[in-house]
């Protein structure tokens, strides 16, 4: 069914709901921050925030929790994008862990992620004294997120307890907290991957070029296609090869796999999505570490 006069399409309804949520954050909290990961969902989130407070600016800073192992293209895109929209960007790195040479080769992906992302995020939120952190996570990404609230309560240690979440009815979001507690806010909860791309298309939102296909230097490891950044990317016996591919999600270079693809435009990506029937997180290595690993990470404070 197509939307008629005085009805909103699903995409407009999703947009209106997300804007409502962003404004609730501005009204209910003293120090909110947008967690900006440089990915496509972050780009959509920022566009929605621009709309929510137009003609004013976005009343919160963007926070990028940087592991230092992101793609070069992501850093370039980030700096240009933030500059263009005139937002305030805070970059946080877990310098202590990096000084002790935290890296995925020596620590393993799990431990590396704990230190640089999870701990980095918690430290950054604490340092900034932020009472609300707005993220681009969607419920359709992963099973443990299907039950996540839009306003997700975190205790004094930044931890998430699935049994201690507030019921969320209608469009009423309860952001009351005691000192030290905080709320993670997910304005894109009800969006799907297809919605994100459709919105990027109709709104002409810029995204990191890594999402689009081109010939890239890669190594094939099991089911995964891993980018070759430098000599450390290769394990013994492995060899790099040129593959026409793109990234469905963007994380750190060591932990983000690509997919073989010829989609070099946004409509091309959408077309591919109609055919490719694997979930986007299938290319994220951390999700496969152990059964229910995402849920375990969330309890500890990962997004």
């Amino acid at each position: 069914m197509l939307a008629g006069k005085q009805t909103l399409s699903h995409l407009e309804q999703r947009e209106a709901e997300s804007i409502h949520i962003l404004r609730e954050v501005a009204a209910q909290f003293e120090r909110p921050v947008i967690l900006y990961s440089v990915g496509k969902d972050s780009s959509v989130l920022v566009r929605l925030a621009q709309k929510a407070f137009h003609p004013g600016g976005i009343p919160f800073p963007l926070l990028h929790v940087d592991t230092s192992y992101k793609f070069k293209e992501m850093y370039e895109f980030r700096d240009q994008f933030v500059n263009e929209i005139g937002a305030k960007l805070i970059v946080y790195r877990n310098e202590k862990a990096l000084a002790e040479n935290a890296n995925p080769h020596d620590l393993g992906t799990r431990r590396c992620c704990d230190l640089l992302k999870t701990q980095g995020l918690l430290d950054a939120l604490k340092e900034g004294n932020f009472d609300a952190a707005i993220g681009g996570a969607r419920r359709d990404e992963e099973k443990s997120r299907a039950k996540e609230r839009v306003f997700s309560f975190r205790d004094k240690f930044g931890q998430w307890d699935p049994r201690n979440q507030r019921p969320e009815l209608w469009g009423l979001y309860n952001g009351h907290i005691n000192p030290g507690e905080s709320i993670r806010v997910f304005p894109l909860s009800n969006w799907t991957e297809l919605d994100i791309w459709t919105y990027i298309h109709v709104e002409k939102i810029p995204v990191v070029p890594l999402y689009l296909s081109k010939k890239r230097r890669m190594v094939v490891r099991g089911d995964q296609l891993i980018p070759v950044q430098d000599a450390t990317s290769l394990q013994s016996g492995e060899e790099g090869q040129d593959v026409v591919c793109r990234f469905r999600t963007l994380g750190c270079t060591h932990c983000t796999g690509a997919v073989k693809s010829t989609a070099d435009t946004i409509p091309g990506i959408v077309q591919e999505m109609m055919v490719v029937r694997t979930s986007e997180r299938a290319t994220r290595i951390i999700d496969h570490d152990a059964e229910g690993s995402m849920e375990t990470k969330k309890r500890e404070g990962y997004f």
Partner: protein, 651 residues
């Protein structure tokens, strides 16, 4: 569309962006095959990713047919739940077909059921209710239908599942349908549909069944794709709760919010509630998805917009814009159906926070009129609600609220209650019409009476009234309320009279209210039950507030033994104008005075619930003034209070 051309994809994107949304919830337990039905909907409409399917195939299942995928696992989320084999929370699923996009709130079927189902139903256009064909309509079916109707879900789709186990029998289906209709007629659900299915075998879920030729209707998916839901939003009564004020520069003041109901155009006259000030819509700022324009001429629910007004008037979060001739009730007292959502039972003696649209206030639960047993639908006596219990309650908020009944407007008729200490969301409420339907005389035009009820309760404070501040400044004194609390015989009345005389002499307008003079008139319908005592105090506080508004200070002399009641009086009168005075004396001294012989009667058991003897006195923890009448004379006590009043209220 593997080989689609770019223009075909553009056309697809265009169509995809414009297709509509259906939100639905499911009800039924694991045994009814609910998870299997959802899994089947997702699987047969090609909404399951291959890696998820592979993960599913890797799951060992006990005793299941190897050809039948454990589809139920597609919707079972958290680890803990998988271990326990039950789902314990609301899980949201997203899928789409070329015709429509869907958001499914999947609610589980065990202990915390009512709370979860209420959550899932709160935003649903329809609820799918499963009935096991082998068991027919059971207690649980009725409970689910009742909760869906309570939450105002406009339509129920009843899927009679496991038809394969009853040989796809038409008579079984028809009997279940009749049973359900016999019971559901009372619930007032707008639309009911019945479809016979086998979720396990995929009959009538996405594709029509060849095994039930007697059923000519739509499959579940066909119904979901085609049912018309745009009429679910109230498009008549314009309601715009202000969420946030956008003020990037001195020339722009935009009231940001999501239109809860109705539509509005630039140039139309609107009224701001609760201030009742009028203005016109100057602009509606929003950029619709894909549009280049940043303003629209007309906006409608549920659009998120920013509205600017022609006139500079004070509008903030919690206010509401409405049309001047279509206003909600502006009241602080109302009735509602309430679902209790917390492990901690309701405490009628303490205040909660209410969130209603974007407005918040402290609120008291005055009365629990009755509870509804969700299994029998019988009414039981009103005791404080426990987790998952539903009751009809009376509430009094500290601030006026702009109320629509949930029946007329789902978007502005709902609210949540929040605990003031833990800040947990503890209750979810649905506002009732101003006159209880069952109290209306039979045979008369109920709607007409309801309208009269609306009008008579819809009292608007006069615009342009002389303010309290203006009156105070003319009199040269601030108008405050001195609230005397203390045991019977502590000396409240004596001191109050002395103080009143002293203040009167000074020239400050003053009046004295006490329990006796109010109980002869205004409060003569009240007794001495806990509830009536609270109401006595509430009316006294309201009366004092009116006097204060008129520029006249008041001495209220009431035993007022309960802290909650005094706190509410402080809320009503306003903390700035409220001075709590503890007239303190040990009970032995009071009892020895016993001016009216009440203590001896209470001791003899002739008076029940007598404060200090058979009912508690909660002394103020932090009164502004406290006098010990066993240590100070009447004159000294009067002076102590008088000095405090002089110091704290000089203009």
């Amino acid at each position: 569309m593997p080989n689609a051309t770019l223009s075909e994809i553009d056309a697809f994107l265009e169509r995809n962006a414009r297709s509509t949304l259906l939100r639905f919830s499911t009800a039924g337990s694991v045994d009814d095959g609910k998870s299997t039905l959802i899994g089947r909907l997702l699987h047969d409409s090609k909404n399951v990713y291959e890696d998820h399917l592979r993960a599913l195939q890797a799951v060992p299942t006990e005793g299941a047919d190897s050809n039948e995928l454990p589809l139920a696992l597609l919707t079972d989320g958290l680890k803990a739940e998988r271990e326990q084999g039950i789902t314990i929370d609301v899980a949201y699923r997203y899928f789409s077909t070329p015709k429509r996009h869907f958001i499914l709130a999947d609610t589980p079927g065990h202990e915390q059921y009512t709370r979860n189902m209420a959550t899932g139903c709160s935003t649903a256009n329809l609820t799918i209710l499963l009935i096991d064909a082998e068991h027919g309509v059971i207690t649980q079916t009725k409970r689910h239908a009742f909760i869906a109707s309570l939450l105002g879900v406009p339509r129920l789709l009843i899927t009679v599942n496991k038809m394969d186990l009853v040989d796809y029998s038409q008579s079984v289906f028809n009997r279940i349908k009749e049973d359900f209709l016999g019971f559901a007629g009372k619930l007032g659900i707008r639309e009911l549909r019945f479809i016979p299915v086998s979720a396990l075998r995929g009959e009538n879920v996405v594709t029509s069944s060849g095994l039930m030729p007697w059923y000519k209707g739509e499959t579940v998916m066909e119904y979901l794709e085609n049912v018309y839901v745009a009429g679910d939003t109230n498009m008549v009564d314009f309601r715009f709760p202000v969420q946030y004020v956008i003020r990037p520069n001195p020339n722009y003041r935009g009231y940001a919010g999501q239109i809860a109901a109705g539509a509005i155009r630039v140039g139309e006259e609107v009224m701001v509630l609760p201030s009742l000030r009028k203005s016109r819509i100057k602009s509606i700022d929003t950029r619709r998805a894909g549009s280049e324009r940043s303003q629209v001429e007309e906006a409608f629910a549920p659009m998120s917009v920013a509205i600017t007004l022609e006139d500079e008037i004070d509008v903030g979060r919690g206010d509401m814009l409405v049309r001047t001739h279509n206003v909600p009730r502006i009241q602080s007292q109302f009735e509602a159906m309430l679902v209790w959502m917390s492990d901690v039972p309701m405490d009628p003696d303490k205040p909660y926070l209410i969130r209603h649209t974007s407005r918040e206030s402290k609120i008291f639960i005055d009365a629990i009129n009755y509870k509804v047993d969700v299994n029998t639908l019988h009414r039981t006596t009103g005791t404080p609600l426990q987790l998952n219990e539903i009751g009809r309650v009376g509430l009094t908020a500290a601030k006026p609220l702009m109320l629509d009944s949930y029946r007329k407007n789902r978007a502005t008729g709902n609210f949540i209650l929040i605990d003031t200490a833990t800040f947990h969301t503890v209750g979810a409420g649905m506002i009732l019409d101003s006159l209880p339907q069952e109290l209306l005389p039979l045979g008369q035009g109920a709607t007409e009476l309801m309208e009269q009820g609306r009008v008579s309760t819809n009292i608007h404070p006069e615009e342009g009234a002389i303010t309290k501040e203006a009156r105070e400044s003319q009199a040269g004194f601030r108008a405050v309320t001195l609230w005397f609390t203390g045991l019977s015989g502590s000396g409240k009345s004596t001191i109050a009279k002395g103080l009143e005389r002293k203040i009167f002499t000074e020239g400050r307008p003053i009046y004295r209210l006490d329990g006796d003079n109010l109980r002869f008139g205004l409060n003569r319908d009240l007794g001495f039950s806990r509830k009536d005592r609270s109401e006595n105090i509430r009316r006294a506080a309201e009366t004092a507030r009116l006097f204060n508004q008129a520029g006249i200070s008041v001495i209220c002399s009431f035993i007022s033994p309960f802290k909650a009641d005094r706190d509410r009086a402080r809320e009503i009168i306003g903390a700035d104008s409220f001075i709590e005075v503890h007239i303190d004396s040990p009970i032995e001294v009071c009892e020895s005075r016993d001016p009216h012989g009440l203590y001896s009667k209470a001791r003899a058991g002739e008076i029940s619930e007598f404060t200090g003897i058979s009912s508690p006195y909660e002394a103020p923890l932090n009164p502004e003034v406290s006098v010990r009448t066993d240590q100070h004379s009447v004159e000294e006590s009067v002076n102590i209070i008088y000095v405090y009043l002089q110091k704290s209220t000089s203009l």
